[in-house]
């Protein structure tokens, strides 16, 4: 017995009656590349406000993957259609790491917005993103004329993000016990970018084009037209807003946006966007691995749902 393609296609969708949601795998072309996406819709009447979740960059896309799934499911359970996707060179999509750059992220986000906007009952789109995904979401909201934006722990300055991205490689090399002098430092990576047009940054093939275009991005300059509603969230141990979130909020207010600031306190905040499965010894002495980001993600999802609910109300009032 084998399942023909039509039967197999039937397994692309699942329903969760208890949560009141349905999820469906799609294989749309985003940014010119065959991608894999998941469209989540409430089983009951959907709100006209839909969310597109923009993913992060490099290995952060993996570390924030479950975060995006949890947020999408929470939003959908609250009535919002949500589209999340994997861009070229990520996850199950086609393309490879050579294709990855700010331009590819933005082209995919643009097409994802169009895809969600074409769904029945969707009238408005909010862009959502965490870390680098926040930067993509903000630029997408700006360029596509979206009226709503939700970001958590946003990357505001691309040059600073790229510096951190390269430095992480240097720390990794040092931790792998290479002696002094053998360390493949930031200088070496910059030389590789210059000489060969790419560098191997902890297994990620960073192109010079991606390095340059991200490095030239600064939300405090690049956002000029967005006058909609924004949720700007911080994730810290103490629950205080980060400097990046504060500066983004101030800038958004300066250009006429309506901003809600949120801060989530969590002891594992420093692992947001990083590998977050900790090996430990369980209560019975057995070895186990635990996900440290579950509670943090639930808090973020809860605050985002609340903000989305308020925006849905204001949308109804506007109507």
């Amino acid at each position: 017995m084998f399942l023909d393609d039509k039967v197999l296609a039937g397994y692309a969708r699942r329903e969760d009656k208890a949560a009141g949601i349905a999820e469906e795998f799609l294989q749309p072309v985003l940014g010119g590349v065959r991608s894999v996406a998941v469209l989540s819709r409430p089983l009951a009447q959907a709100n006209p406000l839909g969310f597109v979740i923009c993913h992060s960059f490099g290995i952060e896309q993996i570390h924030l993957g479950r975060h995006e799934v949890t947020v999408a499911r929470a939003l959908t359970a609250a009535g919002f259609p949500v589209l999340r996707y994997q861009g070229a060179g990520y996850g199950d999509s086609e393309g490879d790491m050579r294709d990855v750059g700010l331009a590819s992220h933005l082209a995919e986000a643009r097409d994802a917005v169009a895809l969600l906007a074409a769904q029945d009952g969707v009238e408005e789109i909010a862009a959502y993103g965490a870390r680098f995904g926040a930067l993509v979401a903000a630029l997408t909201a700006e360029r596509e004329g979206l009226a709503r934006l939700a970001v958590w722990d946003p990357i505001v300055n691309g040059a600073s993000f790229m510096r951190g991205f390269l430095r992480a490689h240097v720390f990794f090399e040092m931790s792998e016990s290479k002696g002094e002098g053998e360390v493949s430092g930031v200088e070496q990576l910059l030389q590789d970018l210059e000489a060969q047009g790419w560098a191997d940054v902890k297994g990620f093939r960073l192109s010079r084009q991606a390095y340059e275009e991200i490095g030239e991005t600064d939300l405090s300059k690049d956002l000029v037209n967005f006058k909609g509603a924004a949720l700007v969230g911080s994730v810290t141990k103490q629950g205080r807003p980060t400097p990046a979130a504060k500066s983004l909020s101030a800038h958004l207010r300066g250009i006429g946006a309506r901003v809600v600031e949120e801060s989530v306190a969590d002891p594992w905040a420093a692992e947001f966007g990083h590998y977050h499965y900790h090996a430990r010894i369980g209560h019975d002495g057995a070895q186990e691995k635990a996900d440290t980001q579950v509670e943090l993600t639930d808090k973020i999802a809860g605050r985002t749902v609340t903000w989305g609910g308020n925006e849905h109300e204001s949308l109804r009032e506007e109507a």
Binding site: F25, I62, D200, A286, Q287, D291
Partner: protein, 275 residues
């Protein structure tokens, strides 16, 4: 080749998976598994890259998210080495074999995925082989501690003092005693008797050293000649397999698996049921 992203029903839950079907009738199915924390595509698209390569060799492939990871449902937040998600893997494997119209599979996995692969190779009649990547085999974390301790300043003080060396000798001896975990030894013996096994490590992995190589060889040497031939160890250059944090090790790993996995199957489609 076609790829199908699916939700495989699993009790009240759904396991997210991608099934790759080659253009011609598949010779068999390869199941690709991750360690805890990586989604079904693994880091840096390792599994999609391998799946597409294997599809060109006439093999169907499935990769999956364990419950609580990636797009799978489930509220699992803690995973235990003693409680492997074996049933999840068996369910997805059955689904993918049916989808591809084949009745044989081989498996490749890292970390707990390698444990699952080894277990299936030893217990499932349909399993034709297992590639175990960077399999943690040791009973204790002493080696890791020793490697770290060598870099401490106090280590050079200890090395320079005969008195301190003597005092610390029992501790050093205890951590040097690297033994393969009994359950892994048992699974290995069971698996190597009935299916080809490939063990893959890199020169820079803390989970591998000469003692492991020697122990495995000793186990195999005590066996009749057939199982001996079915066991292979490859130690890759090019950086640590942990985290796959170099492009070179990713390419070497794909090459090694793309070379070994197709050899588990007959060269012709095995009475494929797929048109």
């Amino acid at each position: 080749m076609s790829e199908h992203a699916v939700f495989v029903p699993y009790g009240k839950e759904h396991i997210a998976a991608v099934v790759t079907i080659p253009e011609r009738s598949p010779r068999g199915l390869v199941v690709l598994l991750c360690g805890i924390g990586a989604p079904r595509s693994h880091r840096f698209q390792l599994w999609p890259r391998l799946a597409r390569r294997l599809a060109s060799e006439g093999l169907a492939v499935v990769r999956m998210d364990y419950l609580g990871i990636g797009d799978s449902t489930g509220a699992t937040t803690t995973w235990r080495y003693e409680d492997l998600p074996l049933e999840e893997v068996r369910t997805v494997t059955r689904f993918a074999m049916e989808a591809a119209g084949v009745d044989r599979f081989a498996v490749a996995g890292n970390c707990i995925g390698s444990h699952i692969g080894l277990t299936l190779a030893g217990t499932d009649e349909a399993c034709l082989g297992a590639a175990c990547i960077r399999m943690p085999m040791l009973d204790r974390g002493g080696a890791k501690l020793r490697r770290r301790a060598r870099r401490w300043k106090v280590a050079s003080v200890v090395r320079s003092s005969r008195l301190l060396r003597g005092a610390l000798h029992p501790v050093a001896a205890a951590t040097r005693e690297r033994t393969i975990r009994p359950e892994v030894r048992e699974a290995f013996v069971r698996a190597v008797r009935r299916a080809p096994l490939l063990f893959l490590y890199s020169q820079e992995d803390g989970t591998y050293d000469a003692a492991i190589k020697r122990d495995l060889e000793q186990i195999v040497a005590r066996m009749p000649s057939d199982p001996r031939r079915s066991y292979e160890l490859q130690v890759l250059p090019g950086g640590a397999l942990k985290g796959l944090e170099s492009l070179l090790i990713q390419d070497l790993l794909i090459e090694a698996l793309a070379g070994w996995l197709p050899r588990c199957f007959d060269p012709e489609p095995a009475a494929s049921l797929r048109a």
